[in-house]
């Protein structure tokens, strides 16, 4: 279903046509599910939040403006649901049940075992970084990179200026790129040794007190940061 059809279906639903809900649900469910999985890192929790998102969309269907775009509206509601959930739980990061495997890795059909393992590890690294970085940066990055929203739409969803959203997404991207480069270095071999020797050198140069800061500075130097 293309975006125009989806907007028209939501428009009909806002006007009281209950049959249009099935169309809206079918088109939005996979996207909202993926969006909330990226936000929470847990498909199980994301499923619950998707249900809550659709319930809120139902309750607020009358507020959907005529001729509006349903995707940014739905993402905004999903983000509110996630925000309310994290605020209620007072958790920075989502806790997982032991049975919850976490976000599913990238599709590895047709590839060999080694590249599948690397792809899975990269996906897990991305998931960990997304859980670690500030929520504002994560939201901006997820909306632009994975949900395909324009910077202007993401700014509306996040209630910020386009410039601020661009900067937040860029900071998230930098954190992800650094981690992925580290991962590549590790899988390429010898990176951990290089990192350890860099830290040792730095500790020798700076003395004991500054050695505590070695992690960030060491990896920044390794990445060629100014």
């Amino acid at each position: 279903m293309d975006e125009t059809e989806l907007n028209a279906a939501m428009d009909r639903y806002a006007c009281g046509d209950s049959a249009a809900f099935a169309l809206v649900h079918r088109a939005l469910h996979p996207r909202l599910s993926a969006f909330l999985t990226r936000m929470t890192g847990s498909p199980t929790l994301a499923d619950d939040l998707v249900q809550e998102t659709f319930l809120r969309m139902h309750r607020a269907r009358a507020t959907f403006a005529p001729g509006a775009a349903v995707l940014p509206w739905a993402y905004a509601i999903a983000r509110n649901v996630h925000f309310d959930h994290t605020r209620a739980a007072r958790l920075r990061r989502t806790e997982r049940l032991p049975s919850d495997p976490g976000a599913e890795p990238v599709d590895d059909a047709g590839s060999d075992v080694e590249s599948a393992a690397i792809a899975a590890q990269a996906a897990r690294t991305v998931e960990h970084v997304l859980a670690r970085i500030p929520a504002a940066q994560r939201d901006a990055f997820v909306l632009i990179r994975y949900e395909g929203l324009s910077v202007q739409d993401a700014a509306l969803v996040l209630g910020a200026t386009p410039t601020a959203v661009k900067l937040r997404a860029f900071r998230a991207y930098e954190a992800l790129r650094a981690e992925l480069e580290d991962l590549r270095g590790v899988s390429g071999g010898g990176a951990s040794e290089r990192r350890a020797s860099l830290r040792e050198e730095e500790a020798r140069d700076a003395g004991g007190s500054r050695a505590a800061k070695k992690g960030a500075a060491g990896s920044a130097e390794k990445r060629g940061a100014p």
Partner: protein
């Protein structure tokens, strides 16, 4: 092109941890059985709410009595405030190009403009006012009237716009709160003959700020869809 913009273009190589979830088919769903308003029902409620708010302000103002020196100049001042309130209301409820809201900058500018226009016009119209000493005793009655006048529309706004804004709810409800406070100020200005700037700013203008603060707090707690 700046460095961030250049790097935004290379986001694609970051792998997606939820790629498999995004490819899943949606389960079959039926609409929730819970009753919810349709667009036309909501529109009717909004119109009814606006009418009740206007009747509230006009009725309380008339009950308190119009000022004896209601000249064309005073009416002009009131007209400016009514136009400001109407404009701010339209902007707070405007869905914007994509149906979400106008940008945060627009909302912020308009939110600051409401008290700014009030202050500027109050100062301009009080230039030839007779000297006046502001005291709690002479401000209390007007502050009370303004608060009562503005409280009715603000209560209605809180009921009508509960969980109504998907984005920027605190900003938009702060704007609505400021407009409700301004409605109280307009009613009070039509009633009170004291034209001194200190009295108008404090006794008639304070409800605008209070309304905006209450609206922002309500928006943050209960305004989001």
């Amino acid at each position: 092109m700046s460095a961030p913009e250049r790097d935004l273009l290379s986001f694609d190589h970051i792998p997606d941890p939820a790629a498999a979830v995004a490819r899943r088919d949606a389960p079959v769903a039926t609409p929730p059985t819970e009753r919810s308003l349709t667009r036309s029902e909501r529109r009717s409620r909004l119109v009814l709410g606006l009418v009740i708010a206007l009747v509230w302000v006009v009725a309380f103002t008339l009950r308190s009595g119009l000022r004896a020196d209601l000249s064309l100049m005073v009416v002009g001042e009131l007209a400016i405030w009514v136009a400001t309130g109407a404009g701010a209301l339209a902007i707070a409820l405007h869905p914007g190009a994509r149906g979400l809201s106008l940008g945060v900058r627009v909302l912020a500018v308009v939110l600051w403009s409401v008290p700014a226009i009030f202050v500027a016009s109050a100062l301009a119209w009080s230039l030839d006012a007779s000297p006046f000493t502001l005291t709690w005793a002479n401000a209390r009655a007007c502050l009370g009237l303004c608060t009562v006048l503005g409280a009715g529309p603000l209560f209605l706004a809180c009921v009508l716009f509960r969980r109504a804004f998907a984005v920027m709810a605190p900003w938009r409800l702060a704007l609505l709160g400021a407009v409700c406070g301004l409605s109280g100020s307009i009613g009070c200005q039509a009633h009170c003959p004291i034209g001194a700037a200190s009295h108008v700013l404090v006794a008639h203008g304070l409800p605008i700020v209070i309304g905006a603060l209450i609206g922002a707090a309500y928006g943050a707690l209960r305004g989001r869809t």
